[in-house]
């Protein structure tokens, strides 16, 4: 799966760099299944969604924390 992490101003200020670190801490069996990309602002942070925001396989997730994104990935890879 492809994870695009927003590194726009607001997402960055609200912690998007810690998301990348968190993902990289995952055990290899998960990491082998994901490719990480950076993205500029998804233009959804002006009130619709709460930064930091990431897109996982075309779906946007907001208000992410290191724990939250790890759980999402584990759940998704686990399903496969």
């Amino acid at each position: 799966m492809v994870i695009s992490i927003c590194v726009g101003t607001t997402c960055h200020l609200l912690g998007s760099s810690s998301l990348v670190e968190a993902i990289n801490e995952l055990p290899e069996k998960y990491l082998n299944n994901v490719s990480i990309k950076y993205s500029t602002c998804f233009d959804v942070c002006h009130g619709q969604m709460k930064p930091p925001i990431a897109k996982i396989d075309d779906k946007l997730y907001d208000d992410l924390s290191p724990d939250k994104i790890k759980k999402i990935i584990i759940a998704m890879v686990g399903d496969n």
């Binding site: 101003t9 760099s17 950076y38």
Partner: protein
């Protein structure tokens, strides 16, 4: 179109408070002019003489007088020391035209060293005797990545009587610079390095003022920064076209701005996964036909901080080349440019007023104003367009 980045470093004669050499930079409509003068003797008196010489030359250039006439005037006014029979000051003028032509005028300073495509190049000089003074003039062309080094005799004489019979001499210096060129094209590094060697040849007690001016010929001396989305979205494509057609280095600073450019040009933005070296700044990237794409306000804020640390020129800051962030990167691009254009979009991101953020982010235009002031202080021509 070519221009030059210029960097100077000097040593004062040991024990002297001021340097008897002087250097000035000037420009005309179509050229950049560097003048270096060496005043007779050392200390205050020499300093006044050399300042006077560079001052007269630069002022005349600014008034639009051409080189030959400037030389005429200076040669006719420069007094000669009665005791020693030599002029009170010597000078070298380098005029670099945008079309690649270079005019070199030398009066009694060491021969400038020129590196053309990495090889030493010794142009032929035409000699003119003006008021008993032998002035050497040469005209030739140079390309980007070529170099000219102008120096006072204090550099050439280093080592005299101390380590060598006649100092390390112009030939050795030329050979040294040529070897250095194979390792780096960084003008600041080259000049600093050569002056350090000079100083060591003097046993760290320079016997004369020593000045080295390095000029690196560069291409595309202009840069444009596009930051912030235009107020009226209907005008997006107009401004994007203006941006992409710009002749020079192109920088986008801002996520929404880069999305707009990407949407209109169809070029996708690529963010370097390895560029996330700094915790404070988001990573940067590239786009086809765009040299650098960065986040907006935070990066500009960091750029402004770097600029405000420079007093006179942008070479006062050193970077660890392996570890540069988005703002350092932008700084380095701007450093090589003479003219900088900034296109500032005035649409404010509503989220920037969010109290969850550490400071008011709706400050783009104030920030740009500060950046413009700082860029002008370090000698850049800045044009700003609000869109």
């Amino acid at each position: 179109m070519i221009s030059a980045v210029i960097y100077k470093k000097n040593l004062n004669k040991f024990g002297e408070e001021v340097c008897g050499d002087n250097f000035q930079l000037g420009k005309t409509e179509d050229s950049k002019i560097a003048v270096m003068s060496d005043g007779l003797g050392s200390g205050i008196k020499a300093s006044i003489l050399s300042i006077l010489t560079t001052e007269i030359i630069s002022t005349m250039f600014k008034k639009g007088v051409d080189v030959e006439e400037v030389v005429h005037t200076i040669a006719n006014t420069l007094p000669v020391c009665k005791v020693r029979g030599i002029a009170y000051s010597t000078f070298t003028i380098v005029q670099i035209f945008r079309n690649g032509m270079v005019k070199l005028v030398n009066y009694d300073n060491p021969k400038p060293i020129i590196l053309k495509k990495g090889q030493l190049y010794w142009p032929t000089y035409q000699e003119k005797i003006i008021n008993d003074k032998k002035i050497k003039i040469s005209t030739f062309t140079l390309d980007p990545e070529d170099f000219i080094f102008v120096m006072s005799d204090g550099v050439v004489h280093a080592g005299l009587g101390n380590l060598m019979d006649f100092g390390w001499g112009i030939e050795n210096i030329a050979g040294y610079l040529k070897r250095m060129y194979r390792r780096t094209r960084d003008i600041k590094y080259m000049v600093d390095n050569l002056i350090a060697v000079t100083e060591s040849y003097y046993g760290f007690e320079a016997g004369d003022d020593a000045t080295l001016v390095g000029l690196k010929i560069t291409e595309k001396p202009r840069a444009i920064i596009f930051t912030g989305p235009p107020l009226d979205p209907k005008k997006d494509s107009y401004y994007v076209e203006k941006f992409t057609k710009f002749d020079g280095k192109k920088i986008i600073s801002g996520g929404t701005t880069s999305n707009i450019v990407s949407r209109i040009t169809g070029n996708e933005m690529e963010i370097d996964l390895t560029s996330t070296s700094s915790k404070e700044l988001p990573p940067y990237g590239h786009m086809e036909n765009v040299d650098l794409v960065t986040e907006g306000v935070l990066t500009l804020k960091a750029l402004n901080k770097l600029l405000s640390e420079c007093k006179n020129n942008m070479y006062e800051i050193d970077f660890d080349k392996k570890n540069i962030n988005a703002a350092d990167n932008m700084f380095l691009i701007l450093r090589d440019c003479d003219e900088i254009k900034i296109m500032v979009g005035r649409k404010v991101n509503a989220f920037y007023h969010n109290p969850a953020l550490p400071f008011d982010m709706s400050i783009r235009s104030n920030l740009v104003r500060d950046i413009v002031k700082n860029l002008q202080r370090v000698g850049k021509d800045v044009e700003i367009e609000y869109c």
